[in-house]
């Protein structure tokens, strides 16, 4: 655990020592605000809640989270520093976890910086702050799941651009897996329970509830197990591919 935190700290500092961190935060905040206000019609709805703001988080994360996750392992592999890291007295699990936690902490910071939205809605009316907190927690967990996915995919390549594109594409499939676009691809040949299984993987389905402030146990279990599964695969991939 100690090593995990040391690695996470190094990684988090590394984010802020490049322009990536600032570019990301600015764009995330601008887009989150703009989408919530304009596309979500925050004012026109005349309701004191952040539903229209949270509604766009899955789409934002689909593009922006792979941008954070892409460098996690692809950069280590390209620059050869993975050899340095993996010959320090740490286990692969500590390395994977440390890097993931740093990236998640970074997205947490970005998410936390949307607090003016919350202040605004409280200034304008009397929202149910319990719902807002629940939505934030749900959004945060979903960002973690996207990130674990991106981290895992980033370990497969030395090329950050490939890591980003594949990360965004896989995130898109997870988002859409509850919709006919994806399900039709399975309906033709797969038994019904497989179709149901694929549908239950949909972030959009899970997030629709989250945006209303409902964090159900299945959703939490789903997101947490997806994170753990991705990090487990990530560890195996690192073990297999680190020296190639």
């Amino acid at each position: 655990m100690r090593n995990t935190l040391i690695i996470a700290k190094r990684e988090l500092v590394a984010y802020f020592s490049s322009p990536l961190a600032y570019v990301f935060i600015v764009i995330f905040l601008a887009l989150a605000g703009a989408l919530g206000f304009y596309l979500g019609a925050f004012f026109e709805r005349g309701q004191a809640d952040l539903g229209s703001f949270f509604l766009f988080h899955p789409w934002l994360f689909m593009i922006l989270v792979p941008a954070i996750g892409m460098r996690l392992w692809a950069e280590e592999r390209r620059s050869g520093t993975i050899e340095l890291l993996m010959t320090l007295p740490i286990t692969p699990v500590e390395a994977v976890l440390g890097k993931f936690l740093a990236a998640w902490a970074f997205t947490t910071i970005a998410l936390a910086l949307t607090f003016p939205m919350w202040l605004t809605v409280n200034y304008l009316g009397a929202p149910d702050n319990g719902i807002i907190v629940a939505s934030y927690i749900g959004s945060w967990l979903m960002a973690g799941a996207f990130l674990a996915l991106s981290s895992c995919l980033s370990a497969l390549t030395k090329n950050q651009v490939i890591a980003f594109i594949v990360g965004a594409a896989v995130s898109f499939l997870f988002l859409m897996s509850g919709l006919d676009l994806v399900l039709d691809a399975f309906r033709g040949w797969a038994p019904a329970y497989v179709v149901d299984l694929v549908a239950s993987l949909s972030f959009l389905t899970h997030f629709a509830a989250i945006a209303k402030g409902v964090i159900s146990l299945p959703t939490v279990v789903f997101l947490v197990s997806l994170i753990l599964l991705c990090l487990f695969i990530n560890t195996q991939v690192i073990e297999l591919k680190k020296a190639t």
Partner: protein
């Protein structure tokens, strides 16, 4: 003497290719092993397996009693490793990077400060401690990477081409550093530079196509050279022909060759018939015929000749 590093039958296959084939050796405290071989011979692969970065297909390495196959973290704790090309986190400063490594290595308190101050002084990093590594010269980067490897004062050091790409002064400094550490550690260095092996190592292993093809002291490897104990003569052009006629029939002499000619002088190389020193016999024979010699020197043999002969054999 305690064996600190014991490499037992390491092999590594990549698909159908055998990169390393049954390599074994042991290094004791005080030992400096030079690991030689052409590019692609398997030096780096072997070192990566010892350092726990690459899993061996068969065999294992024991570092200070810990087996890299079963307890890689224990091996990594006791080992200092400089990877090939000295990769570094270039967006960090040397100070930040060494602090990170010190934390991972579990150094703290006065010991941590003492070790950090020690490597910064040894590697002359004081001036660049707070510059980003990407702005540093190759020499400084190499020193930062070396500082990382020796930070925890490990008993075993594995250095993959520690002087590659350095200028002559920097090479000299790195060699001095290795020399000062040598008595208390077991050190393995890989290199292409044969003079480095002669200057630093008390043992050399030559590896080609994944196999150990020679293993011995630099002295014993040099003895394999056909120039070992040969005698070089420099004499005036007029005397050369006579000298060759006198020396060629001697039973101790295998062959006399004309090596070079300039400004009225000629260099002759006299190779011994059985590898033993023939300086006395050659000297006596020339004196008996009153042939004047400007220079006479005995050759110790050339490691690079041996290296070429051994590693280019089919």
């Amino acid at each position: 003497m305690a064996t600190l590093l014991d490499v037992r039958g390491l092999s590594r296959h990549f698909g159908a290719i055998t990169a390393v084939d049954n390599v074994s050796f042991a290094v004791e405290r005080g030992g400096v092993l030079g690991f030689l071989g052409p590019n692609g011979a398997g030096k780096t692969t072997t070192m990566r397996m010892i350092a726990g970065f690459l899993a061996p297909s068969t065999g294992t390495a024991i570092v200070c009693g810990a087996d890299v196959g079963t307890d890689p973290v224990a091996v990594k704790r006791r080992l200092g490793y400089l990877p090939e090309g000295a990769p570094l986190y270039v967006d960090m400063t040397p100070a930040g990077f060494l602090e990170f490594v010190a934390s991972i290595r579990g150094l703290d308190g006065p010991d941590r400060r003492r070790r950090l101050a020690d490597v910064v002084e040894r590697m002359h990093l004081g001036d660049v401690l707070h510059q980003r590594i990407e702005t540093l010269s190759k020499g400084y980067r190499r020193r930062v990477a070396l500082a990382q490897a020796i930070l925890h004062d490990p008993d075993v050091l594995i250095l993959d081409e520690p002087t590659d790409g350095l200028d002559p002064n920097q090479k000299y400094e790195v060699r001095e550093l290795i020399r000062t550490m040598a008595p208390t550690k077991a050190i393995v260095i890989s290199t292409h530079i044969l003079e480095e092996v002669e200057a630093l190592c008390n043992r050399a292993i030559i590896i080609a196509r994944g196999r150990v093809v020679a293993d011995g002291t630099p002295e014993s490897l040099r003895a394999r050279s056909d120039r070992h104990n040969a005698v070089t003569l420099r004499l005036s052009a007029g005397e050369a022909q006579r000298a060759m006629q006198v020396l060629q029939p001697l039973p101790e002499v295998a062959r006399v060759d004309l090596m070079a000619q300039f400004d009225g002088t000629v260099d002759l190389l006299v190779r011994p018939a059985n590898g033993r020193s023939i300086t006395a016999e050659v000297g006596a024979a020339l004196r008996a015929q009153e042939i004047g010699v400007e220079e006479l020197s005995s050759e110790r043999g050339r490691l690079d000749d041996v290296f070429r002969t051994i590693t280019s054999a089919p």
